[in-house]
Symmetry: C2
Subunit: 200 residues, 2 copies
Amino acid sequence: MEKQSTEEKIKAAARKLFIEKGFAATKTRDIAEEADINIALMNYYFKSKEKLFDAILEEAFQYFPGKLISILEEEISIEEKVTKFVTTHSEMLKSNPLVPIFVLSELRNNPQKFVEKIGMHEILTDGVLVNQLREESAKGNIKKISPIHFLINMISLTVFPFIIQPALLTLENLNTDIFNNLIDERKQMIPEILMNQIRI
Amino acid sequence: MEKQSTEEKIKAAARKLFIEKGFAATKTRDIAEEADINIALMNYYFKSKEKLFDAILEEAFQYFPGKLISILEEEISIEEKVTKFVTTHSEMLKSNPLVPIFVLSELRNNPQKFVEKIGMHEILTDGVLVNQLREESAKGNIKKISPIHFLINMISLTVFPFIIQPALLTLENLNTDIFNNLIDERKQMIPEILMNQIRI
DNA sequence: TTTTTTTTCAATCATTTGATTAAATAATTT
DNA sequence: AAATTATTTAATCAAATGATTGAAAAAAAA
């Protein structure tokens, strides 16, 4: 374990707590304690709790969605793309299972910000996947489907289990390992479901 | 508009704000202002902010999931059941579109409570739908499927659009009417997807 | 080494927040 | 009407919270 800079310690602690409890429920003193630093240092490095939150969000947005969106833009078949997207997304979520709850609960404060950062509009109108779905159905290779429904279905089926994960894990016969097994099963199942729907 | 009792005014205001902003971000003074009452009345009627929250949650749980769970227990075919469940659920969510974000973001504070209230364990082990899926696949009428995946898929596909609704509504070409149209389309689409998956 | 700059700290500030009090008003009972 | 009970209010409290200060310590530059 190499020594972290104070700035990194603060970010790591804040990231953990914001994700676990949300912005409003995370107190500056919680962050200071978790990071094992003096409260004043939080303001010294980040000016305010809000700016710290923004900094963390900014970083997360740089890494997290970019990787997924680039998959949507690859020039591979729809089936390959769906499989790759769902697999990659599932693995990312297995490493960061609390992220979906965090995103959805902060979404209500500033939905615009999230939409812009992800580039949702472009994905839905000009994205390669959207065009593939249009072209292939025009050629008669797949059933006609509304791209927005197809995307919503794909993301719903992948993300939602993580949203209810805290609930599922309270069941006696369900622990993290079993949950992750379910997710692995879904990496095969979800593409099958989606392709089933459009296969002629 | 008939006159509301003070207690009802407080509950209505609190319900609105808790759902919009969550527990931690909703301040007692916000509730008092929204309800147009003196702050002391909140404590007079409900003792504390937390007890007020619990009272509202209690009421919501009495109404909301009960109706859906009873559908799962009806003695009708799987296809009828899925269609009825998804339709009813969608209509309920159209009337209360912010409920999923509220429920799921408060879930992290006390997942046990939610699981118990819904009776999740019973649904997953002894529920009529779960048994139907087992029996029909044993008879060879449908493909073998893990009931937990089937339920997760059904609920994911229905609920998730409402989770991203605030984001979707920021898009220029998407308003509430168009969103509700999408949901209506999904009332047909989701049962098709689910039955496609298990049809032999 | 001395000076300067950067980083850290304990103490404290001002505001916000959940809650309470005691008095005033309204409603109900006798 | 008088007495009693229930409801409402303005004022206030104590704790929590986000942020700041000025001095001390550590690091870097001269």
